[in-house]
Amino acid sequence: MTTQIEEPRRPTLPWPALRWPENLRVSPLVLLLIAVLLIAVVPPALFLINASLHETLPDGANGAFTWRFYQQLVSGRFFLPSLVNTMIYACGSAVIAISIGTVQALIVERTNTPGRKLAFLAAIISLGVPHILYTVAWLLLLGRSGPVNDLLSSLFNTTQALDVYSLWGMMLIEGIGFVPLTFLLMSAVLRSTDASFEEAAMMSGASPVRAFASVTLRMALPALAGLTLLIFVKAFESFEVPALVGLAGNVNVITTMIYQSSRHAGSPNYGEAGAYSVCLIIILLGLMFWQSQLSRHAKRYQTITGKGFRPRVIDLGGWRYGASALLVGLFLMVTVIPVAMLAFTSFQPFYGGVSLESFTRLSLENYQALLGPGSFRDSILNTLTLGAMTATLVVPFTALCAWLVVRRAPGAWIIDQIASVPLVFPAIILSVAFLDVFVNSSLPLYGTLLSVILASSVRYLPYGMRYAVAGAMQVHTDLEEAATISGASRARVFFKILAPLLAATLISSWLLIFLLSVQAVSLPLLLVGPGSEVMAVTLFELWQNGQVTELAAMGVLWIALMTCVSVMFHMLTRRHQLSV
């Protein structure tokens, strides 16, 4: 089998374009998509910029123009240290998540390790764990009175061995939390990478590790860079871990600064928070520009060509049991420990530490409380609708966008840039911005489930985009060229060639967006109204009200439900012979 590695060249397919000067040419389809994206992204962005440049009046309206918030930001004694903390924290989390997730994905996608397919189930289960519970479970484990510290102090005779309320604690918890996401995204990338290069390398005498490192990973580089950026930004704007772990140890990052400043005045005041967010956006746009430079040579990495394609697994020989053990270890760390902590807590009458004594007070009280009349049953249908609709809106849209971006349709790079912008709106702020948009909208959207669906579609657009771009990047143009030459229209090329080749990627993307959007708390918090409550908000309220044991019970049921959804999905796609 031969596969070409080509130098970048201009696409041979002419794109219908408006007759503008060469460097301003934009195809009408691209223009349409850009318009849709702008409608989605501009209102919240404008809200932020406006808020950061105006005094907030007592009723929350914008007052006089001011640079004050930016001046405060730069002169404030907290800005620089928190920026440095944020950088360290986001880099550290990204490194942990990417390295573990990539190793896991390599083992699962590229080797014959026994039991590797179960890693998907494990990842899906961990994605179902509400983030706040996940964080609490780790704190319980590594906290001052947790079993790890107990063990260490009895071994080394110290009073306080580990202080998890620190930067390393934040990086560890956040990084491990992102492993399922990186694993899923990396597998999507690896699955569509041709393994024949690895085979060639190994036949030439390279060890499996060397073949992975110098062939597989290098081929996945653009996708890997995109993924790293995604995780970096996700950590950059994450809230639960910085709030629960960081604030308790007086480690401030940008998001906790935004949170504190948006709340400290009592009445709504988004000036300072807006200024922080605008800075975040500028930093991110810079990073994205750098990443788009990197993927300019994407064509070098295309491996799905018209000449037959099959990702292959590599026989690890005796190593495969070691790889199995590694997967099991990761499974324990990423999934079992948090879920077990949760399950344990759900049988407790109150939320204490883990001790021998705590095993004597197991009870079913929490489950009884949940299954009685409660908001649990009211909100479940809303929640499933929210997840399904969001994913169904985002996936086809991003597939189309990604195709145009990867094929370098004139002006399509703008799509990629705009579609990534929602990543940087901190969810707390995005919620306020969308509240403002919907409450002022002349359409009766305010307080409805549809408004939550629209907002979360915008929020999860970048995730769909990364997934789709990673997939589309690896489809070689020759199939499409062949189809076009045979007279197929662009639409036909998209639906008959690209969509089937990308099906596996798009289905994983659907599931991921479903799982992410049903879990989001801060975004729907202000947007839901009476009757449109979703479960994640109910979970958050249980947490706020200190019904943590009930929350854990609900979390367990929730994970069970999400696992069912995922397994059903898995079986469905199997039947249609799509490996997901």
Binding site: S375, V439, Y446
Partner: protein
């Protein structure tokens, strides 16, 4: 399939388009003291047919039973509610009032009252039900009405802090042995601002300043990621030995279940009132008043009491298990900090926090 556009909001919008503002007649009922007020409320509420409550009270124990009891008594009014923390309630309310798209008819929560009033988000109202409340829990201007009382104290982990060493006065908190072991809530008015305001009101500004200088040496853990209740949970889990200024009844509830935690009141005990307000541009004023009456009446107050809140009415007793933290029962002085007072001190107390305690 749940309908994506809920019918009430679509209807409400259609209504708002037809009548750009509720009629002046309807607004008058809010402050009416007419002898036939009760009958007017019933007739008006029947026509309105619904009322929307925004509240910070717990759904399962308080809001749902309250709505159910109300609808049992007045089957012609459908109650819907939205629960959130005070900060979110204010955000949502101010957005609604600014956009003249007001969904809420009655807004209830701790700290909501004065903030909403000062921001110009509310209209005054009167309910004869407040006549039964102690003078200090009433607002003579009629901008808000008290709905429930909260007392604040210190929570300690009984395994980490022996009973004989528990700080019993504000002065005890300065003992160097508590360095790094105290925690308090930031970013919410009933957290650090209330604590700092209490000290200022008790000691006077000069002595308070000295006190804060010493207290800052204790390196208090700034807890910013959850409610007072979640801070108590951190204490129970043994992560934090002592939490300052938490709702005094929370530790008792957990203690009853066997958790290693207890409350210590420090004199004077700050107390605040949960309040309700009527938003400017209210769409269902009759039903709103009917619900307001109901919440302060014995029926509503008993529901709050059962939900582990402290009633404002002297003739409704709190749960027996919670009585020990009522200052009158415990024999400790109470310092009622009205939302107006708290609001007046808010900025300056917050500044003290920023200058001395934010790390």
């Amino acid at each position: 399939m749940p309908s994506l556009l809920n019918k009430t909001s679509a209807l409400a919008l259609a209504g708002a388009l037809l009548l750009s503002a509720p009629s002046a007649m309807a607004q008058e009922i809010l402050t009416s003291r007419a002898p036939d007020r009760d009958q007017q409320l019933l007739d008006g509420a029947k026509k309105e047919g619904q009322v929307v409550l925004y509240s910070a009270a717990i759904v399962n124990q308080a809001l749902r039973p309250m709505a159910e009891a109300f609808m049992k008594k007045y089957p012609f009014v459908k109650v819907t509610y939205w629960r959130a923390d005070t900060e979110e309630i204010i955000s949502k309310l101010s957005a609604e009032v600014r956009a003249k798209n007001v969904v809420a008819d009655l807004v209830e929560g701790t700290g909501v009252g004065e903030l909403a009033v000062e921001s110009g988000l509310t209209v005054p109202f009167t309910t004869p039900a407040t006549d039964a409340l102690p003078e200090m829990y009433r607002d003579p201007r009629g901008n808000w009405a008290s709905t429930r009382i909260s007392y604040f104290g210190l929570a300690y982990n009984t395994k980490l802090v022996p009973a004989d060493q528990v700080p019993k006065t504000y002065e005890d908190l300065l003992d160097p042995k508590w360095k790094g072991k105290l925690s308090w809530r930031i970013n919410t008015s009933s957290g650090t601002p209330l604590f700092i305001t209490t000290i200022r009101l008790t000691l006077g500004e000069d002595k308070a300043k000295e006190y804060f200088d010493k207290l800052a040496q204790q390196k208090i853990i700034n807890f910013g990621s959850g409610s007072a209740r979640t801070l108590v949970d951190r204490v129970i889990a043994g992560e934090i030995p002592i939490a300052l200024n938490i709702f005094a009844h929370h530790p008792l509830i957990s203690k009853a279940k066997g958790a290693p935690v207890n409350t210590q009141l420090l004199g004077p005990v700050p107390s605040t009132a949960g309040t309700m307000v009527v938003p400017k541009g209210v769409r269902h004023p009759y039903a709103a008043m009917l619900l307001a009456d109901f919440i302060i009446a014995k029926e509503g107050q008993s529901i709050f009491a059962k939900a582990e809140y402290f009633p404002v009415r002297p003739d409704v007793a709190p749960l027996e298990t919670l009585a020990p933290v009522v200052p009158k029962v415990a024999g400790v002085q109470e310092l009622f900090v009205s939302s107006e007072k708290l609001n007046r001190y808010y900025e300056s107390s917050q500044k003290i926090f920023e200058d001395k305690f934010r790390q």
